[in-house]
Symmetry: C2
Subunit: 381 residues, 2 copies
C-alpha cells in the first residue's frame, strides 16, 4: 500500500533505497538542517528581523553566513540566489548586452545556454574531445576567444566554464581557463554546481570573477531551491548594483531571492559542508574503485575522465542493452531489477548508457550495488 | 533560555505568539503541507520522475495541479516560478524591450518597479488619491496611458496593477483597469500577491492577460519560495516560449523554477486554499470590526479604503507615538509591550503608524489584541 501525506505519495527515496541519482546525492539534507528547515517552513520566515534586504539580515545570521561563504570559496562577496541557474543569469544579464558574445563549453548545463539565450547573446562553444573522454581542454578557450575576435571584431563579454559537468562528471582545469581569461581580459564565470559543496574551491586561485553554486544540488540544502553567487570585489558595483529608487535592493536578484527555509537549510548545512569537502579525495577514490568494478563486469565502459575525478560517472553499458533487447519489459527491465534490490536513481528506460553518483555512499553500499549489477547480468546470461 | 536547532534559534512565532505580520499571515502552512514539505525536503525531490521540465511532471502531480490552478484563477495556463516577483519579471522580460514604457500604480510593490528597471523600461506611475485613502482610481490608468502616448508616440508595452497593495491593503477595481487596457489594446498584468490565495480571483473576468501569485505570501506554501504565473492563451507562445536548443525548457523561467518542496507545499495546501477563499467575506468582516475597534481606542486612524476590503490594515497611531516620546525605550516600547503579551508582527520601533493583518485570526484573538492595545494605552495614561 502506498503511504500518502497530504494526498501525495510519501517520498522515502533515501530511507528505503540506495539513491544513485547524481542530481540528488549532494542535496540530501543532514538531520539538523531538516529540523531547522521545518522550524522555518512558513512563508517569509527569514524576514522576522528584515533590515531591508535578505543578504544583510543578521537574525537568522544570513549576512554573517554569506561572509563566511565568500571566504570559503576564495571570493570577496557572496549573495543568495534562487539557484545556480539564477546566479548565472544574474551575471549574464548584469554584464552583457544583446548581441554580445559568450564562450561556453560543450558540456555545459542547459541553463548556461538558456541564460545566455534569454539575454540574446551569440553563443560560442568550446568543443569537447569527443568519445570516449569528452574532455574540455583549456586551450580550447583561447581558440574560441580568438574566433569571437575574428568574427565580431570584439572580445566575448563573458567566458563560462562548467567546472564539473553533469553528463560525464569531468573536472576541467579551471585555473588554466582562468589564466587564459586573465590574459585576454575577459571576465570568467565558473559554474560549480557539481563541485563547490563537494570539493574545496578557491575562486581567486582559479582566477574566477564569478563562482555560481547550487545549494540543493551540492550543498545539502533542500526545502525549496537556493543558490550562491560569489564574486570578486571589482564586479560588485556592476553585478550587485541597487535599484535607483530602492537603495538596498539589488536589481539582479529583484531585491531578495531565497527568502525562506531553503536559505535556513543552506546555513545549517554549512558546517557539514565545510567538513565534507575535506574528504573529497576519499570520494574520488571510491568513484574510481566503483568504475573499475563496473568495467570488470564486462562489456561496460566508463566514459569521461579516466582515471575519474568525480562521483558523477557515466557508463556505456552494452551488457545491459543486450538483455533489454530480448526482455519483455525492454529498457525498463534494469530500472525494475534495481528497484527490486532497493537501488534507485538510474533513469527508467536507460540501458544503453547511464550515469550515476557514488557520492557519500559507503564502501559496503557500493559493493552491494556492484554485486547487484553482477547478479542482474548473471540472471539473464 | 533560547532553544536552538542546528545552531539557529528555533522559530516558533506561530506557536508562541499571535503573529500580525502581513507578510506572513497568508503563508502559514497547514499541518499536512508541513508534513509533505518535510517528506520532499531533499534537493530536487520533485524530479524523481522528471519528464524534461518541471511544469509537466506527472508524479508528484505538478502538471495536473497547474491545470487546476489555471482554472481556479480563471486563466488558460499556469506555470511555477520562484516567486511572484520572478513571475512579474518573466512577463516584463518576455514582452517588453529596453526603452519601452510600462504603467504601474503608486502603491506597487518595489519588485514591480525593480522588474521594470531591470529590463530598462520607462516607468509611468498612476498616482494615488493621497492621504488618508491613498486609493488608485482606475481612470488614472487611462490618463497614464494617454501620457505615455503623448510623450513617446506609442502605447505602453505593459500595464501593471497591484490588486491589493502592501502598504494600505487597498483593493482596486481591477476589472475597470482591465477594460481600459482592453480598449487601448495594452496587455494587463495583475499582481495578486495579496489577493489570490486569500480571495477568489477570476482573471478572465478582470480582463487580465497575466496574473502573478505569491505562494509563500498568500497560498500557505512556504519551504522555500514559490510563485505562479497564470496567463491567457494568446500570450503562451511569447511568454512560455522555449529555448531554441532545448525544446522543453521555457526561457523565461530558465527551464524549471521551484524544483523542490516549496512546490510540494503549494500543491498540498491547494485544497485548503480552495476552501479558504470561499470565506473571504468573513475575513473582510473581521478586518472591518478590528479597524473600528482600533479607532474607538482614540487618536488612532485607519488609512486606506474605508470601509476596508482586506485583512492588511494600516493605522496612523498618534496614541502610541505620544507614549513613545516620553518612554525611555522610545519607539521600541510598543513592540516590547506587545511581545510581553505574546503578540508579534508589528515592526520594532514603529509607533507613528503601523500595518498589521487580521487574516485567519479568530474573533477571540482579535478581541484579545484590541484589549491589549487598550491596556497599553491605559498603562501609560
Amino acid at each position: 500500500m502506498v503511504q500518502t501525506v497530504g494526498g501525495l505519495e510519501v517520498r522515502a527515496k533515501e530511507e528505503l533505497f540506495i539513491n544513485l541519482e547524481p542530481l540528488q546525492r549532494g542535496g540530501i539534507m543532514p538531520a539538523e538542517a531538516r529540523k531547522a528547515a521545518l522550524s522555518y517552513i512558513d512563508g517569509y520566515s527569514t524576514c522576522d528581523y528584515c533590515v531591508g534586504t535578505l543578504h544583510l539580515i543578521k537574525k537568522p545570521p544570513i549576512a554573517n553566513f554569506l561572509e563566511e561563504v565568500a571566504g570559503f570559496l576564495g571570493m570577496d562577496f557572496a549573495i543568495l540566489t534562487n539557484g545556480c541557474r539564477e546566479a548565472k543569469f544574474a551575471v549574464v544579464h548584469a554584464i552583457t548586452k544583446p548581441g554580445d558574445a559568450i564562450v561556453v563549453d560543450a558540456n555545459r548545463h542547459y541553463t548556461s545556454y538558456v541564460a545566455a539565450e534569454r539575454v540574446g547573446l551569440a553563443i560560442y562553444e568550446v568543443e569537447s574531445t569527443g568519445y570516449p573522454y569528452f574532455q574540455i581542454k583549456p586551450e580550447g578557450y583561447a581558440k574560441a576567444i580568438e574566433k569571437v575576435k575574428a568574427e565580431t571584431g570584439r572580445l566575448p563579454s563573458l567566458v563560462l566554464l562548467t567546472h564539473v559537468d553533469w553528463i560525464y562528471g569531468n573536472l576541467v582545469d579551471a585555473e588554466k581557463v582562468g589564466k587564459i581569461c586573465e590574459e585576454y581580459g575577459v571576465p570568467f564565470l565558473l559554474n560549480t554546481a557539481y563541485s563547490s559543496g563537494r570539493m574545496p574551491i578557491n575562486g581567486r586561485g582559479l582566477k574566477a570573477d564569478f563562482v555560481t553554486c547550487s545549494g540543493h544540488k551540492s550543498w545539502a540544502a533542500g526545502a525549496g531551491t537556493v543558490g550562491i553567487l560569489a564574486i570578486r570585489k571589482e564586479w560588485a558595483e556592476k553585478v550587485i548594483k541597487s535599484s535607483k529608487e530602492y537603495k538596498v535592493k539589488p536589481i539582479e536578484i529583484l531585491g531578495c531571492s531565497a527568502r525562506g527555509s531553503s536559505t535556513i537549510a543552506l546555513i545549517v548545512s554549512f558546517p557539514f559542508i565545510k567538513e565534507r569537502v575535506k574528504h573529497w579525495d576519499e570520494e574520488v577514490k571510491k568513484a574510481r574503485w566503483f568504475s573499475s568494478q563496473m568495467e570488470a563486469l564486462g562489456d561496460i565502459k566508463q566514459l569521461g575522465d579516466k582515471p575519474h575525478n568525480h562521483d558523477l560517472i557515466r557508463f556505456d553499458t552494452p551488457a545491459f542493452d543486450r538483455i533489454a533487447q530480448k526482455h519483455r519489459r525492454r529498457g525498463y527491465f534494469l530500472y525494475e531489477e534495481l528497484l527490486g534490490r532497493k537501488i534507485a536513481g538510474i533513469k527508467a528506460g536507460k540501458t544503453k548508457a547511464f550515469d550515476l553518483s557514488t557520492y557519500q555512499l559507503t564502501n559496503e553500499q557500493l559493493k552491494y550495488i556492484i554485486d547487484s549489477f553482477k547478479d542482474i547480468i548473471e540472471k539473464y546470461s
